[in-house]
């Protein structure tokens, strides 16, 4: 019993003094992701490899702690929603077999996202990030694999203590929502995509 208590206290002291990586999510607010232009008359496929969905990223947070999250897994529904609002038809492909099938079914554009993130906090006493950045790059290729367009957007999210005390992921949620809102606008305004 004494040994158990010592282990508990040692673990507690380590966690309190040395910090840890707290789990958050980047789930965007899908209600805020809406089309701003008429849909582009194109059939598109969103390609996020299954392996990408299991990539866990760790970035800085407050008080010397870090946060960890799954950018591709968390942003997948938002990316799908953004493309659904921008193009006539959207489907999801997760492997090369799916890509080949799509190409044999007819004309379709393939959209492959790349997500990079940063986070930070001015606070030394609370761990949730107060600032979060999502850099989102979407490469659009045709059935032959030729790059037609690359759209880059940057989403910013900030959250104060009063706001995030009920939602530790708030800055991340705001940043991913901001990035997707800008993505919808940028894709919708692309003359290259409308001319395909």
């Amino acid at each position: 019993m004494k040994r158990f208590i010592q282990l508990i206290l040692a673990g507690l002291a380590c966690a309190v003094l040395f910090g840890c990586a707290h789990p958050i999510t980047m789930n965007p607010d899908l209600g805020a992701v809406k089309a701003v232009t008429a849909p582009i008359d194109q059939r598109v496929a969103l390609y996020i490899a299954e392996a990408s969905k299991s990539i866990e990223v760790t970035t800085s947070a407050g008080g010397g702690d870090k946060v960890r999250y799954f950018p591709y897994r968390d942003m997948e529904p938002g990316l799908y929603k953004a493309l659904s609002d921008t193009f006539r038809e959207v489907t999801m492909v997760r492997d090369l077999g799916g890509l080949d099938k799509l190409r044999t079914e007819g004309k379709a554009l393939l959209i492959t996202p790349t997500i990079t993130t940063q986070s930070s906090s001015e606070s030394i006493v609370t761990w949730p990030p107060t600032q979060f950045t999502v850099e989102l790059s979407c490469k659009v290729t045709d059935a032959a694999g030729k790059t037609i367009e690359t759209v880059n957007v940057s989403g910013q999210g900030r959250a104060t203590f009063d706001e995030f005390k009920g939602n530790f992921s708030l800055a991340a949620t705001r940043a991913s929502t901001d990035a997707l809102t800008k993505l919808v606008k940028a894709l919708g305004e692309s003359a290259l995509l409308r001319s395909q």
């Binding site: 707290h22 899908l30 006493v125 761990w127 530790f168």
Partner: protein, 201 residues
């Protein structure tokens, strides 16, 4: 509990440091906070299944909670409490989740004569484990058209995720896994051919 000790602790005298760490540790373990559940994000696998199913648009009606259901309005995550981020109870959260799946599949129509409603029968999260934590949800789903019941079944799922010693790790992990549990429940519903048939003309 999101407060942590400042790094300025290292400049404190040893006795004060020990006392301070003890107070902080007690606070971390004992103090409780209430927060909303995370936003629901639809499962694209569910959405793609719905789109390919041949189902016709439906509306989502009320999802009640069973009388006296523990966890109907609040789930205990160690010393914290998680409440539904939509409506007044977790039945509302389930209804919103199902609606968002149908919306993304373009199968939601508030004017549809087909109505999906239900009752939350079980809603539980055990977040106290050091090695694993788990949760269970069960709900009754009813599809009606023109006052006629076309589908009436219970669906239940269990979900498990890694546990943690620190509440600051275990509590957000448990909260983040609640939408995953709901996604699994809706996946179980969509995988039922009788449910899909009930949504067809």
């Amino acid at each position: 509990m999101i407060h942590r000790f400042s790094r300025s602790l290292i400049v404190l005298a040893p006795l004060r440091l020990v006392l301070s760490v003890t107070v902080a540790a007690t606070a971390v373990l004992l103090s409780g906070c209430a927060g909303p559940s995370p936003h629901y994000a639809p499962s694209i696998d569910n959405v793609e299944l719905l789109k390919k199913s041949g189902a016709q648009p439906a509306r989502v009606g009320a999802f009640d909670v069973a009388p006296g259901l523990p966890g109907a309005t609040a789930l205990s995550l160690r010393a914290n409490t998680m409440v539904s981020s939509v409506g007044g109870h977790f039945g509302d959260y389930l209804a919103t989740a199902l609606r968002s799946e149908l919306e993304l599949a373009r199968l939601y129509n508030p004017q549809s004569g087909t109505d999906v409603s239900g009752t939350l029968l079980k809603n539980n999260i055990d977040a106290g484990g050091l090695s694993t934590n788990n949760g269970q949800i069960e709900a009754r789903f009813v599809v009606r058209r023109g006052g006629q019941v076309r589908f009436d079944k219970n669906k239940a799922i269990a979900h498990e995720w890694p546990g943690a010693f620190m509440g600051a790790d275990a509590i957000p992990a448990a909260a983040n896994n609640y939408p995953v549990m709901v996604r699994k429940l809706i996946a179980a519903l969509i995988a039922d051919p009788e449910f899909i048939n009930a949504l067809k003309n």
